[in-house]
């Protein structure tokens, strides 16, 4: 549905996007992840035909954006970083105008129906007759989303769709986006990692204009794990030695004390499941096993790792084993990356 090949965009001497290639299949949600200034917006602007690429090409729904911009743009709905609203129009007027320019020749009755439909979909009914300039940030974002949906486009490109929303609105917006997948192919950019884990089927991580990884959020987490690391919380005794004697365990370190319990971090040989043996070693000694779980890298850590790596173009597989320092909970807090 979307194909980007060797896309490069330079602004004078500055290279904003450098040889970026990726594909998005029909009905998929692709997350575009990167720190601020990584080239997300630039890539999206090329994808929507706002600006041409310096090199490379972008094909959306079978139409090259450079050679057939109008055909391609008919099939794209775009929510820019700042929703492009005209402050002196009411929401209804604004959406009617967008409907007019996105699908010329739509009958007035159809237009009214489309406007009513997207207002319902994006939950902007209650502000239909308010001026766009008077809307709160949350509503502005929703009207922006409604605007992107008005011509029922095959492809939706959303630049930070949840930026500036409150937590409830964020959840609603994500639900809406998820419900749109299937009928629409969606590319969304964000620098908020849990968002990607929760909404996207695939992730493109971009840093300094280059793609550093393309995969599913799960695979990214798995692949970067390297050596399996376990977190164990034991009550009753000094377990470090006992744990160290379990076959397959390479390293044990004591992390912290919780009252009578002690937390350990265990590094096992890669691809060897030592959980059963660890549990037995503790229970056999009569201690209490309060917690035993794998320490997985959160997307945040993967992201930081990928984007702070010095070696350029390091693929997801080639990264060194991670050194997690804290129990990680994937998708916990909305910590903005970098």
């Amino acid at each position: 549905m979307i194909e980007v090949q060797h896309l490069t965009k330079r602004y004078g001497p500055l290279t904003a996007v450098d040889d970026v290639s990726f594909r998005v299949e029909k009905g998929e949600i692709l997350g575009f992840l990167g720190p601020n200034g990584a080239g997300k917006t630039t890539t999206m602007r090329v994808l929507t035909g706002y600006m041409p690429a310096t090199e490379g090409r972008a094909v959306v729904a079978g139409f090259d954006l450079f050679t057939h911009p109008i055909e391609a743009k008919r099939r794209i709905g775009y929510l820019p970083e700042t929703p492009p609203l005209y402050p002196d129009m009411t929401v209804r007027e604004y959406l009617a105008f967008v409907a007019r320019i996105k699908t010329p020749g739509l009958s007035a009755a159809d237009r009214v129906m489309r406007v009513a439909h997207v207002m319902k979909r994006a939950r902007t009914d209650d502000v239909a007759d308010r001026h766009c300039g008077k809307l709160s940030k949350g509503y502005r974002q929703r009207v922006g989303l409604a605007q992107a949906l008005i011509h029922d486009p095959e492809v939706l490109i959303l630049d930070e769709p949840t930026a500036g929303l409150d937590p409830k609105q964020i959840i609603e917006t994500r639900d809406l986006i998820r419900s749109l997948a299937g009928d629409h192919t969606i590319v969304l950019s964000t620098h908020i990692l849990p968002e990607v884990a929760q909404t996207c089927q695939r992730v493109v991580i971009i840093n300094k204009g280059r793609v550093v990884a393309v995969d599913t959020p799960d695979n990214l987490t798995h692949q970067l794990e390297g050596a399996a690391t376990l977190y164990v919380l034991v009550e009753g005794g000094e377990a470090a030695e006992a744990l160290g004697s379990v076959p397959g365990i390479q390293h044990v370190s004591t992390m912290e004390r919780h009252g009578t319990a002690v937390a350990y971090e265990i590094e096992a040989e890669p691809h060897r499941d030592v959980r059963r043996d660890v549990a037995r070693a503790i229970v056999d000694r009569g201690w209490g096993l309060l917690e035993l779980r794998p320490l997985r890298l959160s997307l945040e850590e993967i992201f930081l790792q990928l984007t702070t790596e010095e070696s350029e173009g390091a693929s997801a597989n080639a990264g060194p084993p991670p050194q997690p320092v804290l129990p990680a909970e994937p998708g916990a807090a909305g910590v903005p990356g970098a």
Partner: protein
């Protein structure tokens, strides 16, 4: 083709709407009507005074309401629009660039030409509405006098063409900057320069003088006021407008490349 016209119409209607939704259009109309009214009353008083003198004095001079009242009045209107139109055009592109709405237009299935024509025609429509207000004054002349209506029509046509030139110039300048004030000021200065460019003609050689006179935007207006529609002048105005729109097209396109 049909789609293209629909697109141009959609953009033009949107522009016109936004003029009337903001105070812009109303303030312009008020100012224009006020200044035009002031000139109207002044010329009328002068004309009436002259006619009265003609009745009492010896040989009556040839009194002609078209030549002595309508023509200078329209000439003054052209000065007013020199000041007003930059205020109309300064926002056309600058405002959309500043607020980011340009992203909506440029990612919609519209060609640059359609956007520019829409914006141009929207501004021209507002300008035509300004001129329409002044027709109310002219109506008085028909009620109490007997002016010829053809020179009046040609005068208004001249004003419309002259104003459209300023609009196309203003559109181009607005497309080059995010800053409305800069756009407005630059448009005004350039328009003024085109206005007075023939002042230089006096001291220059015959070829330069004729070139400068030809460039002068007011030189071409004069005949319209007299009731003469000369192709030469129409060609000048239409070329000027086309050139302005062409430059806008180029400016928008180059902006796209530079990002």
């Amino acid at each position: 083709m049909r789609n293209s016209l629909l697109n141009i119409n959609a953009v033009a209607v949107k522009e016109l709407r936004s003029y009337f939704a903001s105070p812009t259009a109303w303030v312009m109309m008020g100012l224009f009507a006020f200044l035009f009214g002031y000139f109207f009353v002044t010329y009328l008083q002068f004309f009436v005074m002259q006619s009265t003198q003609a009745q009492f004095g010896g040989a009556p001079p040839a009194m002609n309401i078209n030549m002595q009242m309508v023509r200078p009045l329209l000439g003054n209107a052209s000065v007013i629009i020199l000041f007003l139109l930059p205020m109309v055009t300064m926002r056309t592109y600058s405002e959309e660039k500043r607020s980011g709405t340009i992203e909506l237009l440029l990612t919609s299935p519209l060609t640059d030409f359609e956007i520019i024509m829409g914006k141009f025609l929207g501004a021209v429509a507002l300008y035509a509405a300004l001129l329409a207000v002044t027709m109310a004054y002219m109506a008085f002349l028909f009620v109490y006098g007997d002016p010829e209506w053809l020179p009046l029509v040609s005068g208004y046509l001249g004003l419309l063409l002259l104003g459209s030139c300023f609009i196309s110039l203003g559109l181009f300048i607005s497309s080059t900057t995010k800053n409305q004030m800069v756009a407005g000021a630059a448009t005004f200065v350039l328009a003024l320069l085109l206005w007075i460019v023939d002042w230089m003609a006096e001291g220059s050689g015959p070829t330069t003088a004729s070139v400068l006179r030809y460039l002068s935007i007011t030189g071409h207006f004069d005949d319209f006021g007299k009731g003469v529609i000369d192709t030469k002048h129409v060609v000048y105005y239409v070329s000027f407008i086309s050139f302005g729109l062409f430059l806008t097209l180029k400016s928008v396109d180059s902006e796209r490349w530079r990002g």
